[in-house]
Structure formats: structure tokens, C-alpha cells
Point group: C2
Chain length 485, copies 2
């Protein structure tokens, strides 16, 4: 297919492509800005790099840079600026990077930027933009199998992997989403999730594929976002549960402006209470399920089913085939044109993620109800067996998330002589809660063997840069504590 | 991808898939009916045929039969029941057909049905449906390159060709249309165009791809259709110009029901007057351009541009690349995943339609304006040169279509000693019109060399079964007339 940016500049030259901090760009203007930046990258002599890393926040400049790399046929490696120096170095090395583009305003927040500068060519987006651009050589077509983006998995288990997302992957992901959510000429998608995550990048790619507008914001701030949802013609917004909770806390009585169609919710399970509150306030929320390796959503609810299927992440989207291993709860495996082609420089690790017949192992446990709706039960590697019974920490966490004083909770299985393993809960709360009170709460809601044996209060849960709880650190913490006790 | 009918029955079991003469089928019910018919075809022993021909009108039974063939992995060959016996025989022979499914009510209208019965197994849809169905073996996936449908070109020039349309072709065609027209959960497409034409079949395929409802009607009758547009929740309808003209003649003062989004217009150019009338009545009309070999639309206007771009067929849709040979007016050539894979048993004839670099030659002349909108100027093989000037019969026809007394007009180039060729017009009118009157009208609107030298009144224009004017017959008529004169 034709280069998607060229195509949209042709198809919808006057349509708004990007809104950012009061400025707007039509598709024609966006293309001009992107081609100009591609010219600057060429002036800088970067045009023949195979890959270039981008460490940037959500800004118009990062947006142009990301698209400019695609225009030059360079694979953008999107790095999380919250990573530690060690993580950054490891990802830069495995991706075989020579050049890093950074937002200078962000530099103070990037770990060990000085050390990065000593080993890599670190180039500022603002400095590059000041160069006199030469006419760049742009790709004429977006080849289906060409790599459109590379981003690293969070590495909650094992080393992070560079996920190679092709244009074909992004295309089918966008089509699956459009067939599920519908598509309107005036759709405008609010992007407050990071561009270096698939949740954010998939919005950019949908914009190029549908010819849709994106309202980009630098970072999520509930009052500012609420203001935008009340005044800007936003129709859709991607959120993670925590963002939705914060938005509900400042929800205006009059509601959002009338064009707003709803939230696409991903990243993690959400509580029934939050979803019920959304229903009460007539805020459509569509749960979805996907991952970096499937190039965003593969399973989602639709607007009609969402209110009746609280707790489910929906049905496999049009391009997606899904199966569960064994009977009842088992591993979720998928086959879809949006499953990525592999991990960068780690083909064997990706091969392990595929079954013999080519299906992708998500590593998640799930179950389908009679009508074919998927319910996620947690990670396979977090499930444990206690006295012969399978225990899914997610289920226990969901119950205790409703406990009034608990702000956050994570459950792991810890070794036990009699039962093999027993549940141990780590929670965050303003004050210590009595163990007996927590246990008695659990006994009312859960089978007795699911009620945590231990409850440990922490100041905060250990999380990766992308916000995922690091269970292995909780395991280490528990082992050390036991030794000390 | 998964078998699309299975997928929609899973994704949207309770959603209306088909409405026909007061009856309705949800996607689950549609699948049940189709699987049942596939079972009957299996009982009849047809399950291992490679291809089966279908000669049928727009009915629920034909719809089930068409989909049942796809479910069994049999290639449906969709034949026009208005064809002559000779044409039918030729198409059945080139498609290597053993079994023909026919609607018995249609049998009296099929030319030489008795002779067909003597050479082929002709099976009645109604008789088949009465068989006791066995459990059929259904295809699990719709392979991208598998043939989903075969239909013959009209053969206005040369022999008709069996066009092999793959699932991939239909998928990209449907996606291109959705990205252009938008997609709503409650979309319902009125299908009054024949299922054996790509205009009708593409509606069926969009239904399977989007999970969209189809309101099928047996044949176009303007008063009945108007009633449907006023009472049924139709959102879109495919029309050819003649249908639109008839609908406008009985347009109700109150307009259609409010969900109606507009007409998708294809098949032939329409007069400015008709489009202006639609605008006046606030009836959105989207011009489009496509052919059997591109699996429906490849170029279309959108709702926003349509009112300002009367006369244009729009811009190439998202999956489509388009170029014009030479400068200004030239041949329209396209490259797109919805260009079909070939002609059945005539690979060389299809190869001739492709350029060396793999683009499809449409055989149409077109020109792009500065903003990239395509204007079709007619068929290459209808263009002729008069005194060194290119003449496009379409342009002359469009001018004379506005002449009050003229009902229909067709222009060809006829040999002339002095100029090489000159235009000759054939028209249909209630009474003879004075030559001088016709000439003087043309001189006001056209360059002098474009004004027809001859005007010949006919009772009707010779047309193919699909309604296209047969220019070679007009040529023959002119030669014979000249000999006689």
C-alpha cells in the first residue's frame, strides 16, 4: 500500500490530523512538518540508519520525529524515558542503535544521560529541527512486512524483548478496532497514554490508517483532561483503569460534550465498582485486552455488550482467532494478522512463545463463558497450587480491591510445608489494618483456601517503568522477611 | 482468518444479518440456515465440486445458497439470468461447471433451460432445501487467496471473462469502503442491485466482514423502495443512476427516515441535473468508480466532498494506488489488494490487463484535477480522433443528456474521408427532433468538432444483459445504414 501519510495528505488534506497544546495540523500540514523533519534528519546524516531510538514525551515534536523515521524507512525504537540507565543501555545495545533522538526538556529526567552521550550519538529534537532541511528520500510504499515500530516488553518476567511491529500488524489492529467501535468522519481520539507504549502508538497508526484526528496531551492530568472532554470534540479516549478512577473523581455534573462516544480501557482489569459508577454516569466504557506482541487490542467488548458483561474483556475481534488450552480456565492463545513477526535479535525467545501449530501463547490464563466472552484470570506464571487447588492471584486482588481502606494490593503464592503454597497479600493503606479483619472479610467473599495466609503492608508496590507490579521483588521481599522473622 | 460467517455468528449472534420480504435472520439464524443448506448440498452429493453455478434472483434462498457454497469451499459462479442461451453455455463451459443451482420461479425466464438440463445437472434451490441435510464439512478459515466468487464481465468488448475474486479482494474492498463512508453499529444496507453483480455481492461480503445487516429486495421498484427508505432503518443503499432518477420521481415531501445516510452511486456517470436535485432534497449521494476486476469501488467521493465535486468519481480509496498514463487525460491504472488475481482459465487475457510493473489497466480514460479528484472520460476503445483532436463520446453524451426531449443517447466515432472520424449520435426520444435543432444546441455547449455530424433516432439503445450500451452494434448499424443510403 501507498505510504499512509502521503495517502492521507492526498485523501483528507484539510482534515485535522493532530491537536497539541492549542496548535493544530491538518493532514497536509502534518505531512509538511514530518517531511521537513525527515529533511533535517537527512541533513544530520542519519538517513541510512537501519534503526534510531527515540526517547521522548508526548509532544508534537516527538510525533513528527516518530513519523519522520517511518517516512525515511528507518525503524523507530521507542524507549520509555522512565527506564533505569541499565535498562536503557541494555535495550540500546540489543537494538544495535547508533543514534538516539531525545527531547532536551526530558534530558534531566533520563537516567544517566551523560553516560548515554559518551557511548551513543544523542541528538536533540529541537537542535535537529533547527537544521536546514535537504529534500529527503521518502518511502513510496509501506511494505506489509516492514517494521513500523519497535518497543520493548516491560519485562515483569525475564529480560525485556524488542517487539517488531509491522505495517501489516498495525493495519489489522486498526481494522479490528474500527469494526468493533465503528468509525465516524469526525472521530477525534484523545491520546494521554505514552506514544512509546502500544496503547499510544496504536492511536497514531489508526490516525494514519483511518484519516482520523488525534488530540495529543503531554501527560495525564485529570482536571485538564476533563476540561478537554467537556470542550474539545473528542469522540474516543484510551485509558488504563487508574486514569478512569481519577477522571471519575472529578467528573462534572453536566457530563462531557455530546460527541464523546466512550473510553477504550486496557492495560489491566478494572473493579466492578468503577465500571458500575461509569454506567451510573452514562459513560460508555469498552474493556479490551491486548499486548505489545499483538499490536494493541485483540479482544474487546463493544458498546452494546459492555454494560451486561462487566468483568469480561470481550470477544476476539474480527481478524483474531482465539482458543483456550484444556477445559475451563487455560492459557489464552491467539492467531491473528496483528500478532507480530518476532523479537528483535531474539528469534528463539519468540519461537518459544508460539505453539507448534503457530498460535501465540499470551501467557495469560482465561476462560470463555457460554456466549464466547473472555474473562482473564491472571498470568500463568503467577498462578500457584495450594493443596491441589489452582489459585489465581487476580481473583483475590479483585476482592480485596473493594476493601475500603486498601488502596492497592498484590497477591503472590509463597512456599508452605503443608499446602505446597499459600497466598500472601501485599497492600498499601494509610494505616495498618488488623489481620483478623482482613481474613474475616476474605472468608465472606472467597473460598477458604484463597484467603491470604499473610498480609503485609508496604509504603508502595514495586512497579516497572510502565506501572506493572514486579512480583519477583515481592517474592524476594517475602523470603528475606521470613529469614529475619 | 476465521470463516467470516462463523465469526459473525460468534461476535454478533443476536444482530440482524438479513431482512427479506418481511422475514429476518440474525447472524446466528443466518448461519443455521446456511449450514442447513450446505448440509442439503452434501446430501445431494455436491460437496466435492470445485465450482457450482448459481442462476438466481435476489431472494433469501439464493443468499443462503451463495453463502453455503462458500462454507463448503466450493467456488460460486454467479450467472446473470438474463443472459442468452449461447452466453450461458459459453460461461458454464469455460468455468468447467457440472452443477447449476437455479431458482425454479426463475426457470421460465432462463433462456433454453431445457437445453441446459440436457447437458448439466440443474438442481432447484427449493428441491434441494427439502432434502434431509447431513452434517456438512465446513471450511474453518477463509484463506486470503481462496476464490470467494466468480462472475463474468459484461463483454461489451470481446468475450466475457470469469473474474476470480478472492477473500482478500473482498476484505480490502470492504475496508476501503468503511474507511470512506464510516461504519455504525446499526448500519443496514439496502440491496436492490443483483447479487450476481459485484455491486450486490459486495454488500453481502461487507455484511460478513463488518457484521452489518442487509435489507435484500427481489428487484428494484421505485415506489416499494421509497416505502422502505421511509419506514425501515436503512442507512445506505447502492444505486445506479437510472435507479436514482426513478427514486427522485417519487420522492416524498417528508423525506426518508432519519437514519438514512445516503446513496452509493456506481455503474455509470450521472447527470449534473440529477445530482443537483439530490442536493436540493438533501439526499447525500456518493459517486464511486469500480469494476468486477477490482471487486467493487476503488475510487469514491466522501460525504463531505460530494456536494462540491459533482462530476468527479472521487479519490482512490485507502488501499488503492492510482495513476494516469501520460499528461492530462490518459488511462486509469490501479494497484490495490482488491485487484483480482485473474480470469478463470484465461490467464493470458488477464496478463494483458496488467502493465509490466503489475498495475491493472482499467481501459478507462480519466483525468485528475489539482486536488486529486478523478474524472472519468470514457473507455479508451470508444475514444476516437477527428482532425487530430481526441474526442471522448462520454462528454458529448453528457451534454445531450440535458437536451429536454432526449431520453437516452450514445455517441460513437464513424469513419470520415476528410477528418478520419466524426461523431455520430444515436438517441431515444418520443418524437423525431430536427437535426438543425440538435446541432445548434451542441454548438452552444461544445467545440465545433465535437458536435455530432449524424443524429439517428432509435426505438431503444442496444444493451448487454447488465445494461451497458453495445457500441459495436451501433457501429454495425451505421455501416449498414450507410450502404443502404
Amino acid at each position: 500500500m501507498e505510504n499512509w501519510l502521503t495517502k492521507q495528505a492526498q485523501l483528507e488534506p484539510q482534515k485535522i490530523a493532530l491537536l497539541f497544546e492549542g496548535k493544530s495540523w491538518t493532514f497536509k500540514q502534518l505531512r509538511t512538518a514530518v517531511v521537513k523533519f525527515a529533511g533535517c534528519l537527512t541533513t544530520a546524516g542519519f538517513q541510512n540508519e537501519r534503526r534510531i531510538a527515540l526517547i521522548a514525551a508526548n509532544t508534537a515534536e516527538s510525533y513528527f520525529a516518530l513519523l519522520a523515521l517511518q517516512q525515511l524507512g528507518i525503524e523507530p525504537v521507542l524507549l520509555n524515558f522512565r527506564l533505569s540507565l541499565q535498562e536503557l543501555k541494555s535495550q540500546l545495545a540489543t537494538a544495535d542503535i547508533h543514534v538516539i533522538l531525545v527531547d532536551p526538556k526530558l534530558s534531566p529526567r533520563i537516567s544517566g544521560i551523560a553516560e548515554l552521550q559518551s557511548r551513543w550519538t544523542v541528538s536533540s529534537l529541537q537542535q535537529l529541527a533547527k537544521l536546514s532541511p535537504v529534500t529527503p528520500t521518502l518511502v513510496k510504499e509501506f511494505a506489509e512486512e516492514a517494521t513500523a515500530s519497535i518497543m520493548y516488553t516491560s519485562g515483569t518476567t525475564g529480560a525485556p524483548h524488542g517487539v517488531m511491529q509491522s505495517y501489516r500488524n498495525h493495519f489489522y489492529s486498526a481494522v479490528g478496532s474500527a469494526f468493533n467501535l465503528g468509525l465516524q468522519a469526525h472521530d477525534l481520539w484523545l491520546c494521554a497514554v505514552p506514544l512509546f507504549h502500544i496503547s499510544g502508538l496504536s492511536i497514531v497508526m489508526r490516525s494514519l490508517i483511518y484519516g482520523m484526528g488525534v488530540l495529543l496531551v503531554r501527560h495525564f492530568e485529570p482536571v485538564q483532561i476533563t476540561k478537554l472532554l467537556c470542550t474539545a470534540p473528542v469522540t474516543l479516549m484510551s485509558v488504563v483503569p487508574q486514569m478512569l478512577v481519577q477522571l471519575l473523581a472529578v467528573f462534572p455534573v453536566e457530563g462531557y460534550q455530546q460527541d464523546f462516544r466512550g473510553f477504550l480501557l486496557g492495560g489491566a482489569p478494572i473493579s466492578h465498582a468503577t465500571l458500575a459508577l461509569c454506567q451510573e454516569r452514562k459513560l460508555p466504557v469498552v474493556q479490551s485486552y491486548g499486548m505489545t506482541e499483538t499490536c494493541s487490542q485483540i479482544v474487546a467488548l463493544n458498546f452494546a455488550d459492555a454494560p451486561d458483561k462487566i468483568g469480561s474483556v470481550g470477544k476476539p475481534l474480527f481478524p483474531v482467532q482465539l482458543r483456550i488450552t484444556g477445559k475451563g480456565t487455560g492459557e489464552v492463545q491467539v492467531k491473528a494478522p496483528n500478532v507480530v513477526k518476532g523479537y528483535l535479535n531474539a528469534p528463539d525467545d519468540f519461537k518459544k512463545k508460539l505453539t507448534r501449530d503457530g498460535w501465540f501463547r499470551t501467557g495469560d490464563l482465561g476462560v470463555l463463558d457460554a456466549a464466547g466472552f473472555l474473562f482473564i484470570k491472571g498470568r500463568i506464571d503467577e498462578m500457584f497450587i495450594s493443596g491441589g487447588e489452582n489459585i489465581y492471584p487476580n481473583e483475590i486482588e479483585a476482592v480485596y480491591a473493594q476493601f475500603p481502606a486498601i488502596q492497592e494490593i498484590a497477591v503472590i503464592g509463597v512456599a508452605d510445608q503443608r499446602w505446597g503454597a499459600v497466598p500472601c497479600a501485599f497492600y498499601v493503606a494509610d494505616t495498618q489494618i488488623k489481620q483478623e479483619q482482613l481474613r474475616s472479610y476474605g472468608r465472606q467473599k472467597l473460598a477458604h483456601y484463597k484467603v491470604p495466609r499473610y498480609f503485609i503492608r508496604l509504603a508502595q508496590l514495586p512497579r516497572t517503568a510502565s506501572g506493572k507490579v514486579q512480583h519477583y521483588l515481592l517474592q524476594q521481599f517475602f523470603s528475606q522477611k521470613r529469614k529475619l522473622d
